[in-house]
C-alpha cells in the first residue's frame, strides 16, 4: 500500500467499494461515517480519481445480465503488439485490454448488444490484424465480488 495515502484516503478506498448510500447527498452520509465533511470527501475522491487510484465512483454491473460479453485472447508477435493493441482498442466494444506474459499475450473483454454483433466484432479484429481471436465466454461466476480488499 502506498504509504503516502493518508487514513481518510485508505478508508475511502477500503470501506466504500460497496453499499454506496443511495440517498440525496451520498457523500455527506459517507463523510458522517468518517467523521469529516462532505467537501473533504468530494475533494479527496476527486484527487484519488486524478491520481488514477480510482477509476470512478459508480456501479459495477453483473456480467451477462446486460448485453453479451466474452473474454478474448490473441497470440501477437512481440514486434506487432502495440499496433495490434491499438487496433483492438479502436473498437468501442472493448472495455479491458491487457498484455500478459504468455504466448497468448493480448487479453481483452468484448461486450456487445447480442451474439451476432459480438461475432461481427471478432471477425473484424481478425481481418484487420490477420491474427486469430480465441473467445472464452463465461459460463459461471463463482466469486462474489465484494470489491478489492487492501488489508488482509
Amino acid at each position: 500500500m502506498d504509504p503516502e495515502l493518508d487514513t481518510l484516503d485508505r478508508r475511502l478506498l477500503d470501506e466504500f467499494q460497496r453499499d454506496f448510500p443511495l440517498e440525496s447527498q451520498p457523500y455527506r452520509v459517507i463523510a458522517e461515517q468518517l467523521g469529516t465533511s462532505e467537501e473533504r470527501v468530494l475533494e479527496r475522491l476527486q484527487a484519488l480519481h486524478q491520481a488514477g487510484s480510482i477509476s470512478r465512483v459508480g456501479v459495477v454491473l453483473r456480467p451477462r445480465r446486460v448485453g453479451i460479453s466474452t473474454l478474448a485472447a490473441m497470440q501477437v508477435p512481440e514486434e506487432r503488439l502495440e499496433a495490434v493493441a491499438d487496433v483492438v482498442n479502436g473498437f468501442r466494444e472493448v472495455n479491458h485490454n491487457y498484455e500478459r506474459e504468455h504466448a497468448f499475450n493480448l487479453w481483452f473483454v468484448l461486450t456487445a448488444r447480442d451474439a451476432a454483433h459480438l461475432a461481427g466484432v471478432i471477425s473484424a479484429i481478425e481481418q484487420r490484424t490477420a491474427l486469430e481471436v480465441c473467445a472464452m465466454p463465461m459460463e459461471e461466476e463463482f466469486h462474489i465480488d465484494l470489491g478489492f480488499r487492501m488489508h488482509g
Binding site: L12, S24, N95, H96, Y98, E132
Partner: protein, 161 residues
C-alpha cells in the same frame, strides 16, 4: 429484459457518478428524471441483480498492487463447479469464472484473478489456492499482467446506434 428508462440509466452511470453534493439529481437532469426516480431506478436494478455493487472502483495497479495475475486451470467438467464453490470462499481471489475452453489452443476453463504487491506474493497466493481448493495436479498457468492498454467500464449500449 430492460426497459428503455433502465437502459438510459445504465448508460448515464457508465462514466461514474458526478462528484457533487447531489449526484443523482445531476444525473437525473440529463435524463428528465428527478432525483428520487434515479435512486429508485438504481435500487430496482440492484434488486434485479443487474448491478453487482455500487461504490468506489479502484485501480489495483496505482495502489501498489502491481503483480497481478490471471491464474487458469484445466479442470474436468464433472468436478469444476465443486472446486469453484471452494474458491468462492477463498479470500485471496477477487474474481473466479468458469469459461468455455477455446480448443485446441486453449484448454483452460477455470479462471482466478490474484493481486499482489510483488510477484512472489502473488505466486504464493496461487500456491495456497492450488492446495487449499484441491487443484493440485490439474494443468495450470499463471499469466502476470504487463501493460494495460485499456480499462474502462463496459459500454453496453451504444448511444449512437
Amino acid at each position: 429484459m430492460l426497459n428503455q428508462a433502465q437502459q438510459q440509466l445504465i448508460q448515464a452511470f457508465q462514466e461514474g457518478f458526478p462528484l457533487v453534493s447531489r449526484p443523482f439529481q445531476e444525473m437525473g437532469h440529463a435524463l428528465g428524471l428527478d432525483e428520487a426516480q434515479v435512486i429508485e431506478g438504481m435500487r430496482r436494478l440492484q434488486e434485479q441483480g443487474i448491478i453487482k455493487r455500487i461504490g468506489v472502483v479502484v485501480h489495483h495497479h496505482e495502489l501498489g498492487f502491481s503483480a497481478n495475475a490471471m491464474v487458469v486451470w484445466d479442470v474436468p467438467d464433472p468436478v469444476v463447479r465443486e472446486i469453484g464453490e471452494r474458491i468462492r470462499r477463498a479470500e485471496c481471489v477477487s474474481l473466479c469464472y468458469l469459461r468455455r475452453r477455446s480448443l485446441p489452443a486453449w484448454p483452460y476453463n477455470l479462471y482466478c484473478m490474484i493481486h499482489g504487491r510483488e510477484r512472489e506474493e502473488t505466486l504464493q497466493k496461487a500456491e495456497q489456492l492450488t492446495d487449499g481448493c484441491g487443484l493440485r495436479g490439474y494443468p495450470r498457468e499463471v499469466l502476470f499482467s504487463r501493460r494495460r492498454f485499456k480499462q474502462c467500464g463496459a459500454k453496453y449500449f451504444d448511444g449512437s446506434s
